[in-house]
């Protein structure tokens, strides 16, 4: 049942460039995919290990700025720049994680929020490097690989789709492995995990680094796809927005980040002109979900299918 849905979703995703009439819509979908990759990253740390990293968008920014700067200032091609961007995000993630993970609960959220905002302040103020509020423009598209060129909307769409597919595959493989089950076990009962000989600090750091890797990947794809970049993509409000997508899609689930992002981005564009009013609905929705339906759309769906299977 679920496998069939995934196959249908993949088929639709591949067919979309032939289905939608305007590149405008293609860009919206690709943008949603990029956000979804970042939301998958947030899901690894919040959904699996139960820790809320409010600096998540800053790691997205690290990946994005690294790719943009390496391409425009150092003349690197996209592919090594993307690798370096992910690496930069993970290395910073390891540094921030090894300090912030010593704090607990509310302190962790406050600490990471502060780190995130500091990084965003640097993006805004280090004008010689980052271009300040204007940001970086004219980021070149990826060079061709043999006959494959990446300088149009459609090829870029497939590139982003590929990154999203890779992200979902990573999350799936990790979640069901011993490593992923250890993530959720620690969130469930930290003391028992310690008593079972699990080095909780190390496992949490692993999750944090994986999470920041995905944020960096999303950032790199953003810089590539849009060709320009500014500090407004890295602030606390962006993390909050990703959090909204995750909670509505379903915290801790495999489909949740994608479903939540697509549904909300879709609704926002459906309500043309309502764009700025959408949070009048989504804000209270978030409050209601967290109280009555903490597993979101995907969690509710798997509960339903489990009920069908039980019949």
């Amino acid at each position: 049942m679920r496998r069939v849905l995934w196959i249908i979703a993949a088929a639709v995703a591949v067919a979309i460039p032939f289905l939608v009439p305007k590149t405008f819509y293609l860009q919206i979908v690709a943008g949603a995919y990029i956000t979804a990759i970042a939301v998958y990253g947030l899901n690894v740390i919040l959904g699996y290990t139960g820790l809320l990293n409010l600096g998540h968008a800053a790691f997205f920014g690290i990946g994005a700025y690294a790719v943009a700067l390496l391409e425009t200032k150092a003349g690197w091609p996209f592919w090594p720049a993307l690798l370096a961007g992910c690496a930069a995000s993970v290395v910073l993630g390891a540094m921030v994680g090894s300090v912030s993970l010593r704090t607990r609960g509310n302190y962790f959220a406050i600490f990471t929020a502060a780190v995130g905002v500091m990084i965003a302040i640097v993006f805004t103020n280090w004008q010689e490097l980052t271009g300040g509020n204007i940001g970086i423009v004219n980021i070149p598209p990826p060079p061709s690989i043999g006959p494959l060129a990446f300088d149009g909307d459609v090829p870029k769409y497939y590139l982003v789709l590929g990154a999203l597919a890779l992200t979902i595959l990573i999350c799936r493989l990790v979640r069901h492995s011993l490593v992923g089950r250890t993530f959720v076990a620690i969130a469930d009962n930290e003391d028992l995990a310690r008593a079972a000989g699990i080095d909780v600090a190390r496992v949490r750091l692993t999750a944090f680094m994986l999470s920041t890797f995905l944020a960096g990947l999303a950032g790199g794809m953003f810089a590539m796809y849009n060709g320009n970049l500014g500090p407004d993509q890295t602030g606390l409000d962006i993390t909050f927005e990703q959090l909204l997508y995750l909670v509505i899609g379903g915290i801790g689930t495999i489909a949740g980040p994608l479903v939540g992002t697509l549904v909300l981005v879709g609704i926002s564009h459906e309500l043309q002109g309502m764009q700025q009013y959408r949070f009048l609905i989504f804000g209270p929705l978030l409050v209601l979900l967290v109280r009555f339906f903490p597993l979101g759309i995907a969690g509710g769906f798997s509960r339903l299918t489990a009920r069908w299977a039980a019949r």
Binding site: L46, G50, L51, L52, L54, V99, S100, R102, T103, R104, G105, N106, Y107, A109, I110, F111, A113, A114, V115, V117, M118, I121, V122, N125, G235, L236, D237, F240, L243, L244, V247, Q276, Y277, R278, F279, L280, F282, G283, P284, L285, L286, V287, V290, R291, P294
Partner: protein, 286 residues
């Protein structure tokens, strides 16, 4: 030397603002362990209610402030009752997520109501005062004085009245307070009302010095968190002292080091403290 005293004055003004905002956050955290990430947006909403009072209802500056305090106190009560109380036994993270939902709502509400642009808040006290070679606006002096009055009043309320004592009792031991006949839910609502009311007062005081906008809550909330971490999460005097320390650090840091990174000082302080003391400064032994 003249510049020094001018910065000292600016520090006092900003510190008064920070103190009022951080106090509310500390009160809520101290009594309920709720990190109210929407607190900055309550402050923002307070500014807009007062703005409405002055520019639309034309009720005058002080009645507008009173209006903002009353409206925000009510908003605080509603938030406690509908959003935070049901989540008391939920994971800590859920409370933060709910607060994010609230702040999205409030920010959009302000946007829809008054548009997303920066607004100038008119003040009747815009005359410039000179003394001892220093320059201040009347409004700046009013901020300092009014904040002091509010803080003294709050202290008197918490320490000298029976109702204030119930807040302290709930903060120290919620279950125990319930046993001696205090209704902790009523106290929680009261604390949220005071907290939001203080934010509204702070917003009205400062709005006529700086501009107001729907996103003004974001920077303020993180600074307020930095302050209460500095002051020992949930401590009322700690929040006040922390607020002035941060304000002076920003004021002098901005002048003598770099104005671009003035805002980063708060977060730097926060990060440093939690790096070396992961359980917070002056944390109660765990």
């Amino acid at each position: 030397m003249h510049l020094f005293f001018q910065e000292l004055l600016n520090g006092l003004v900003v510190g008064s603002l920070y103190a009022l905002v951080a106090l509310g956050l500390a009160l809520v955290y101290g009594t309920m362990q709720i990190p109210n990430f929407a607190h900055g947006h309550l402050y923002m909403l307070g500014a807009y209610v007062a703005f409405f009072g002055v520019t639309v209802a034309h009720v005058g500056y002080w009645p507008a402030m009173l209006l903002a305090i009353v409206v925000l106190a009510l908003v605080g009560v509603v938030l406690e009752r509908l959003v935070f109380r049901p989540l008391r036994n939920a994971p800590e993270v859920n409370t933060i997520i709910a607060a994010v939902g609230v702040l999205f709502f409030l920010q959009t509400l302000a946007q829809v109501w008054f548009g997303g642009d920066y607004r100038v808040f008119p003040t009747p006290y815009d005359k410039v005062v000179h003394f001892a070679g220093l320059v201040a606006t009347q409004q700046q002096l009013i901020v300092i004085a009014a904040a002091a009055v509010l803080m003294v009043a709050l202290f008197w309320f918490l320490k000298r009245t029976l109702t204030g004592a119930t807040i302290e009792a709930v903060a120290q031991n919620r279950a125990g307070a319930a046993l001696v006949g205090i209704d902790p839910n009523r106290v929680s609502m009261m604390v949220f009302a005071i907290s939001a009311g203080l934010a509204a007062a702070a917003a009205t005081l400062i709005a006529s010095i700086s501009l107001i906008s729907p996103s003004m809550g974001f920077t303020v909330i993180l600074k307020a968190f930095a302050i209460i971490v500095l002051g020992g999460m949930g401590s009322v005097p700690g929040a006040i002292i922390g607020a002035y320390i941060l304000a002076f650090a920003e004021s002098f840091g901005g002048t003598y080091i770099s104005s671009n990174y003035q805002d980063a000082i708060a977060f730097g302080v926060l990060v440093l403290i939690l790096t070396f003391k992961p359980t917070g400064l002056f944390a109660k032994g765990t």
